[in-house]
């Protein structure tokens, strides 16, 4: 089930985020890594070192693009300049699919550079799905939308977050980047059972899975990507791949970044669950 039309029929294994502190290690030691995820916006530039590094990485590794500011859920129109630059990068990386978040972050042309939560309303479903379709048509590659972690809920919401996600992906006919850490963080912040979320996702649309660590505060959890993955998140991951199969998996580590080896070792812990799932499928 892992190779599907939402990830370009690929079977990418376990990847990690390409981050600047690891550039030297990767380029000089050429470690074996299934794939790297890049933050698209970091490379939507005209030239210079970032693109030079990216070109070297592309010579050796598979790369998938992940965006942080498309804001499918913003009520305003898509930013054409953003799309133009994104398409140029897509042509450069030949990413088999592209992901961004199911959230909003800009209004009236002003950007918060945050992943703000959606109100789970039918109006928001319609607007968001329409924008995902427009992006998919323009870029001509499969799009996967990622569930975000959130710290607030709206009075206006008319459905659960997972119902909202399901409505959007069905209407947009797009894939899902299922972030099991985000599900865990939101479940703690909003008092729901995270397994209900994982169990409700249409498994055939899962293009990729994110795992990550977070920070726990007295009254809430923040999605900080600066710690190893905790056991309850691994449990959600296990359940997700039981349902979706051997799916491209990526560890996010964006702050207090340890050595390349530490990050990669943490990501490779996913193998335990992937092997078990493969075994179960074989039986």
């Amino acid at each position: 089930m892992s190779a599907n039309r939402f990830n370009g029929f690929t079977d990418y294994g376990i990847g990690i985020g390409l981050r600047a502190p690891h550039y030297n290690h990767i380029l000089s030691r050429k470690p074996v890594v299934d794939w790297f995820e890049i933050i698209s916006e970091n490379f939507m530039i005209d030239g210079g070192r970032p693109l030079h590094i990216l070109d070297q990485i592309l010579e050796q590794y598979k790369v998938v693009q992940h965006g942080v500011s498309m804001y499918f859920g913003s009520a305003e129109k898509l930013n054409r300049e953003h799309l133009r630059r994104l398409k140029e990068l897509v042509q450069r990386t030949k990413t088999p699919w592209l992901s961004d978040h199911l959230c909003w972050g800009s209004v009236d042309g002003r950007y918060t550079h945050d992943l703000l939560p959606m109100p789970y309303t039918f109006e928001a479903v319609r607007i968001t799905a329409q924008k995902v379709r427009e992006v998919q048509d323009f870029l001509e590659i499969p799009i996967a939308v990622e569930n975000v972690s959130s710290y607030a809920e709206y009075h206006d919401s008319e459905m659960t977050e997972w119902d909202f996600l399901n409505e959007v992906v069905e209407r947009a006919d797009c894939g899902i980047l299922l972030d099991v850490n985000n599900i865990y963080v939101s479940s703690q912040n909003h008092n729901f059972n995270p397994l209900d979320y994982v169990n409700s996702v249409p498994a055939h649309r899962v293009a990729q899975i994110h795992i990550a660590g977070h920070s726990k505060y007295r009254k809430y959890i923040l999605d900080t990507h600066d710690h190893p993955v905790i056991d309850p998140v691994w449990k959600l991951y296990e359940r997700a791949i039981q349902r979706a199969g051997h799916t491209a998996t990526l560890l996010e580590w964006d702050d207090s970044i340890p050595t390349f080896q530490e990050v990669h070792d943490e990501a490779l812990k996913a193998n335990k669950f992937l092997r078990a799932t493969a075994l179960a499928e074989a039986v």
Binding site: E41, M44, I45, D46, G47, G48, R49, P50, L51, H52, S69, M70, S74, A75, E76, N79, E81, H82, W104, S106, V107, D108, G109, R110, Y111, T112, H113, D114, L116, P119, T121, E123, A124, I127, Y151, A152, E153, Y154, H155, D156, N189, H190, N191, K219, Y220, L222
Partner: protein, 299 residues
């Protein structure tokens, strides 16, 4: 609430400045109490009020924006001092919220804003403006476009006074009233050394160095901010070099650019040809020249 209205309502609160103790303001953007404003659209839960949930986003917004500006402008931070820099950054962001999908462009309007709002530039506005221009040029040179460079042999083949050349888009040409290149390199060096010294000591050293530069009599320098092997360098250039390169960028022929540059120059007439030849050799070795657009290649 319609989606657009809800997003406007939330964005206004998220982008509203924090208090001096870095908390969300008690007063909402509409002038009423923020508690009431937040509870209109955000649900409380068993641990957090609507106000507290909204405050998480409000604080994250400001921490992210201020940290982005601070990372991009260590020189200006050193010139203004931490507290004045923070106040300036907040004022700038209130007047100029990000209008780009990338934080890379957050400070694109900083120089023009600081020029119009000198009260945020500290005691020495010229120095503050010089350092802002240099740090922005550094950002632009880092990831600016590079066209295929003309090789020295290409230039030799086509040389002549009617030749037109383009200067690489990533090369930034600037004139300054203060030697801010030295200042910025010093600040960066001290930032790198932070691991080996206490913050207080480093800040003290930085301030001392900044004060020393600020006390200097203004002495104009000319700089090309450029790249070699994908690293950005500051190259001091002569006024005549600056004039020639600027004129070439404006589309003048080599002959006209050289003539312009030496109009008020003190370089003796007999030394000029050799000087110009040496400059062109250096610039082309650095890969600064590229072909102009076809229609204006040769006048």
């Amino acid at each position: 609430m319609k989606l657009m209205q809800l997003q406007r309502t939330m964005a206004r609160a998220v982008m509203q400045p924090l208090t001096s103790s870095e908390r969300m303001q008690r007063r909402a953007p509409d002038g009423g109490p923020m508690k009431r404003y937040a509870s209109r659209f955000i649900k409380p839960n068993d641990r957090l009020t609507s106000f507290e949930r909204l405050e998480i986003y409000n604080r994250q917004y400001w921490f992210r924006m201020l940290s982005a500006l601070s990372e991009d402008f260590p020189g200006l931070r050193a010139v203004l001092g931490e507290r004045r820099f923070d106040a300036m950054a907040k004022a700038y962001l209130i007047a100029n919220p990000s209008r780009s999908f990338t934080l890379r462009n957050l400070s694109a309007r900083l120089e023009s804003w600081l020029r119009k709002n000198p009260k945020w530039a500290g005691k020495n506005q010229s120095l503050a403006l010089d350092i802002v221009r240099l740090e922005w040029a550094d950002i632009e040179a880092f990831d600016g476009k590079a066209e295929p460079a003309l090789r020295p042999e290409d230039l030799a083949r086509t040389a002549g006074p009617r030749l037109k050349l383009s200067v690489q888009p990533y090369v930034r040409l600037l004139s300054f009233r203060y030697p801010v290149d030295d200042l910025l390199l010093e600040v960066r060096k001290e930032d790198e050394d932070t691991d080996f010294a206490s913050n207080t000591f480093t800040e003290h050293k930085k301030r001392k160095r900044v004060r020393a530069v600020a006390k200097l009599k203004p002495a104009q320098i000319f700089l090309a901010v450029h790249r070699v092997d994908y690293s950005v360098y500051f190259r001091r250039i002569e006024q005549e070099e600056f004039s020639i390169l600027t004129a070439l960028r404006q589309g003048k022929t080599v002959g006209a650019a050289v003539e312009c540059a030496f109009r008020k120059s003190g370089v003796p007439q007999e030394e000029r040809p050799a000087q110009v030849q040496a400059w062109f050799a250096t610039w082309s070795a650095l890969g600064w020249f590229c072909r102009p657009e076809k229609k204006s290649a040769v006048s």
